[in-house]
């Protein structure tokens, strides 16, 4: 269904991409012209300031923004730290030999710049980390205060989720050694879930739909899988049981590629699902401006609302899928039984069913 909607949204956005060169040239003169592709991409991409709203005209009106710190490292000049609002203060948009070009920090003279700025996504990341720490400190203190008695408040809301991750995800996928991996699984589950929900908040960043973030999480899962793997895991890759010798030259490379395909699928699935959700909602809203008619808005808003509701579910579902598959990959690496064949088969099967969401 998701893929269908994604395809649908591409159908909406493709014509706008096609006409982009023409409108791009005429943009300065024709400010009324609306380019949904550009607007949507600006919304799902990272920026160096936190832009909330524009009051009035795009060029002459007031921009309600939160300036964020720029931290740049240039091999020739060293580290420079300043506020992103400095770009607006100078006439040509440059400061300290740096300028923002299509969302990227570049040097005026074209030399290499390493951008460690606290961008909108990094700010959102810090915010989400603070929220997670505050929430789970509160939950943990609930256990300390009401020692041995029934949970209350936020503790009783999140306890079933924690227990679900433990009993349905970790215990079933990893087996008796699940306890070591619980902190990681709980952290990625709540990190992804909270960031998905934060991403749905109006004006917030699209952090969990950013490929860098999903890449880092997938690499973490890959590293944990590799570092906790036992000899059975590797023997399954280099000497798969029950495979005739002449098939090994085909099977072994496939298995080796499989090690990396698994985290790549994790990375792409989360990124694509979350970004696609944002693009679809924005596309429906853009329809109003494309048709230049208020009459379209009821339909647009109804669809947008429906997709937003769906995204609330997807936010939870993607966090669950990421955690479950991570647990399964770890489970496959730590399992020391010979019935691992069955487990692996099950693993692959469930992956394809989840991918259809």
């Amino acid at each position: 269904m998701k893929h269908l909607l994604l395809a649908l949204c591409f159908l909406f956005t493709l014509p706008s991409f096609a006409v982009q060169p023409e409108t791009g040239a005429a943009e300065a003169a024709e400010t009324e012209n609306f380019d949904p592709g550009k607007v949507i991409m600006e919304h799902v991409a990272d920026e160096h300031e936190w832009h909330f709203a524009t009051l009035g005209n795009e060029h002459t009106g007031t921009h309600v923004t939160l300036p964020l710190p720029i931290i740049a490292y240039q091999p020739s000049k060293g580290v420079s730290v300043f506020s992103s609002s400095q770009f607006h203060h100078s006439a040509n948009g440059t400061y300290n030999g740096l300028k923002i070009e299509e969302g990227h920090l570049v040097a005026e003279d074209g030399s290499k710049v390493y951008d460690f700025s606290i961008t909108k996504n990094v700010a959102s990341l810090i915010l989400s980390c603070l929220i997670l720490i505050l929430v789970f400190r509160a939950v943990a203190s609930g256990y300390r205060k009401r020692h041995g008695s029934a949970p209350k408040g936020i503790q009783s809301f999140l306890e079933p989720v924690v227990m679900f991750i433990r009993d349905e995800v970790a215990k079933k996928s990893i087996g008796p050694k699940y306890e070591r991996y619980m902190p990681y699984l709980l952290t990625i589950f709540f990190f992804i879930w909270f960031n998905n929900l934060l991403g749905l908040t109006p004006g917030a960043a699209n952090l969990s739909g950013n490929i860098t973030v999903t890449f880092m999480l997938a690499v973490a899962t890959l590293l944990i899988t590799l570092f906790s793997s036992n000899k059975y895991y590797w023997s399954h890759i280099f000497k798969p049981p029950g495979v005739p010798a002449w098939l090994l030259p085909i099977i072994v490379p496939v298995e080796i590629v499989g090690i990396f395909i698994k985290p790549i699928s994790l990375m792409v699935r989360l990124f694509a699902n979350i970004t696609a959700g944002h693009i679809i909602i924005l596309s429906f809203i853009s329809l109003i401006f494309l048709f230049k008619s208020v009459a379209v808005s009821p339909l647009s808003l109804a669809f947008g609302l429906f997709i937003s509701m769906l995204e609330l579910l997807v936010a939870l579902l993607q966090a669950y899928i990421f955690t479950l598959l991570s647990a399964m990959y770890i489970g496959g690496a730590v399992e020391d039984h010979h019935d691992a064949d069955y487990q692996m088969g099950y693993d692959d099967g469930s992956e394809t069913t989840h991918a259809t969401h």
């Binding site: 991409a45 299509e102 951008d115 990341l125 789970f136 939950v139 943990a140 306890e159 490929i211 970004t275």
Partner: protein
Amino acid sequence: MDLITPQLGLLFWQTVLFLLLLFILTKFAWKPIMASLREREDSIESALRMADQAKIEMQQLKAGNEKLLADARQERDRMMQEATIMANQHRETEKARATEEANRIITQAREAIQQEKNAALAEVKNTAAQLSVDIAERILRRELAEPAAQTQLVDSYLKDVKLN
């Protein structure tokens, strides 16, 4: 495509902050939460086990009580039976003794009667002899004059006496 190009800065911050988050949450949230959950589950499990044990003990107690009751009932029945048997026996013995006593008394009575009778008979005989002597005396006094008549009279008296 900007959308699928990883950003160096974000990757750096994401890695640092995620590892920091993992560390802080593990230390301050996951460990205490998991420990509390396990502790509570253990306490619930032990409470359930204790309840089960108490139930089994109750059943055992009940079974013990019933056994005690059944034993008591059996004991009572046995005692009642014994008492009945003993009473019957006692009655039989008493009856036998009474019969014996009665027989003895009857025998004694018979013997006494026999003795009395014999004594009475002896007395009667003596009395008869005395009477005969008296009669003979009186007759002798009155009818000594006529000896033939005397003898005849004596004979007739004696005949009467013998008939007794």
